[in-house]
């Protein structure tokens, strides 16, 4: 667990030439959504950056976030960043298992107390359900609190770790929450998405590796570089929205021509992520380009915002019962008012006659 080497040393030890290093820095700068003019600054920073210790703790998760990251084939720039930042513990990826893995975790944590980066994926069950999600007899709630105490910063990978995700969706049977609901005294970078785009994950790690600081975050704790724009404003189908050309079903003329998917429930206008520009599978495509509206997977509670196929502006006016009761109540009030008024009229007429 030699955290004293610089990243430059690690890359050279891996046989990477200077040219290779410059290619690595160019790709990393691109990954961090930095302009190409900053590549030399990035190169200088990475060359001398200390290799931080990183532990990855999976909690109540489906492993999709880790899959997303490792689907990036190695050796890649992303793979190198990951290796370069010395992933000291990840019980899915590491060769050791059982008690030996536990010991490796504790050793890494002890040696780097106060300085390690803690990556978390999966939500954390709380209350009476805390023990339902545990590893080697320790509940994940306890593990989170224990290892967060010595972390320099926490990066939550995926919507589950950031905001609770699907575990927290109504009726939240395990009382699951995200990391920020439990840890209040450490810097937290949320990298939500279900799963997050792998480039975004490594971009955030690259930022920490290069600059040693937390990137600028929005009000939901997400890095502005990747989550600062909403999907709608970056969507290549936006001209269709402006011109009023929509797909009305999934296989009609509009759908074939690639028209806007607003009427099929796209949540692009209220979702902030980099899907429209970075795309998925190394830039091959993304949901809208493949013909399905955005489901808003990087937003808190997106599972509970109604159907994925219900347009954003569709009304929630209530049900027939509410309407019926309102009509009855109104009619009753109206009749009462009319009766009162008629009574007054009659009285006035009688007085007039008299």
């Amino acid at each position: 667990m030699a955290a004293s080497k610089t990243v430059g040393d690690v890359l050279r030890a891996n046989g990477v030439s200077r040219r290779g290093f410059m290619k690595f820095c160019a790709a990393t700068a691109s990954m961090m959504a930095l302009p190409p003019t900053m590549v030399s600054a990035v190169a200088a920073a990475i060359e001398n950056a200390r290799r931080p210790s990183v532990i990855w703790l999976p909690f109540q998760e489906c492993t999709g976030c880790l899959e997303s990251l490792t689907r990036s084939h190695t050796p890649t720039v992303e793979g190198l960043i990951f290796d370069a930042i010395s992933l000291d513990f990840n019980h899915t990826l590491m060769a050791a298992s059982g008690q030996r893995a536990e010991d490796a975790l504790d050793a890494a944590v002890q040696e780097n107390w106060g300085n390690y980066l803690m990556l978390v994926d999966g939500s954390i069950p709380t209350g009476e359900f805390a023990d339902y999600s545990c590893t080697n007899g320790h509940s994940h709630l306890d593990m989170l609190k224990k290892y967060a105490a010595g972390a320099a910063a926490i990066v939550t990978i995926g919507t589950c770790a950031a905001y609770g995700g699907i575990g927290r969706a109504n009726p939240n049977p395990t009382q699951a929450v995200g990391v920020q609901d439990i840890i209040k005294d450490k810097p937290i970078i949320n990298v939500p998405g279900c799963p997050p785009i792998p480039t975004v994950i490594t971009g955030v790690l690259a930022h920490y590796l290069t600059f040693g600081t937390i990137p600028e975050l929005d009000h939901h704790g997400r890095p502005m570089a990747f989550f600062g724009q909403n999907i709608h404003d970056r969507c290549y189908r936006r001209p269709f929205y402006e011109r009023g050309l929509f797909a009305k079903t999934f296989d009609d003329e509009g759908a074939r021509k690639g028209h806007c998917l607003y009427q099929l429930g796209c949540k692009g206008p209220v979702t902030y992520n980099a899907c429209a520009t970075l795309k998925w599978n190394n830039g091959v495509s993304w949901p809208v380009q493949s013909g399905h509206g955005c489901i808003g997977c990087s937003e808190p509670n997106f599972w509970d915002k109604g159907s994925f196929y219900r347009p954003l502006s569709a009304a929630y006016y209530g049900d027939a019962r509410t309407v019926g009761i309102s009509v009855a109540a109104g009619a009753a009030a109206g009749l009462a008012a009319a009766a009162l008024a008629r009574g007054k009229q009659k009285k006035a007429q009688q007085e007039e006659k008299a």
Binding site: P36, H73, Q289
Partner: protein, 141 residues
């Protein structure tokens, strides 16, 4: 893990997309033109990161078709393959970085006399010098 390119894909509707509604190929070409002018007048190079721009389907192909092929093609082998080729407009270089499995990692368009990545790097030259000296030493030279 096999490359995604190995999966058979059948394109059903090709002609239905109105090309004039896609924005980005034309504005990018103009930006390249301005950058080339800057290179000629002020000697200042420019690098454009193509991966980070919203491109609709077909946009990238249109851009690459417009840029075409020039006189120089170079294949680098460091940390995976990198292809550098000159466009039909001299001074415009298309740099494509690939990862170990052949998938695209990043794409740049550099407007410069020669991309710095093509040049030999000082560190590597030093290392090369030492290695050559070592290789020649046993022969008593």
């Amino acid at each position: 893990m096999s490359s995604l390119a190995g999966i058979g894909v059948k394109i059903e509707s090709g002609g239905g997309i109105e090309p004039e509604l896609r924005g980005n190929a034309l504005p990018l070409l103009h930006e390249i033109r301005h950058a080339l002018a800057r290179l000629v007048e002020e000697g200042e190079p420019t690098v454009l990161d193509i991966q980070s721009l919203p491109m609709g389907p077909g946009d990238l192909t249109r851009l690459m078709d417009a840029l075409g092929e020039g006189e120089v093609k170079a294949e680098l082998n460091c940390l995976g393959k990198t292809l550098i080729r000159e466009a039909r407009y001299s001074g415009v270089w298309i740099i494509e970085h690939f990862d170990g499995a052949g998938a695209i990692a990043s794409r740049f368009i550099e407007i410069n006399w020669v991309p710095p990545l093509l040049q030999a790097q000082a560190e590597d030259v030093q290392k090369g010098l030492m290695e050559l000296a070592d290789a020649l030493a046993p022969a008593g030279n």
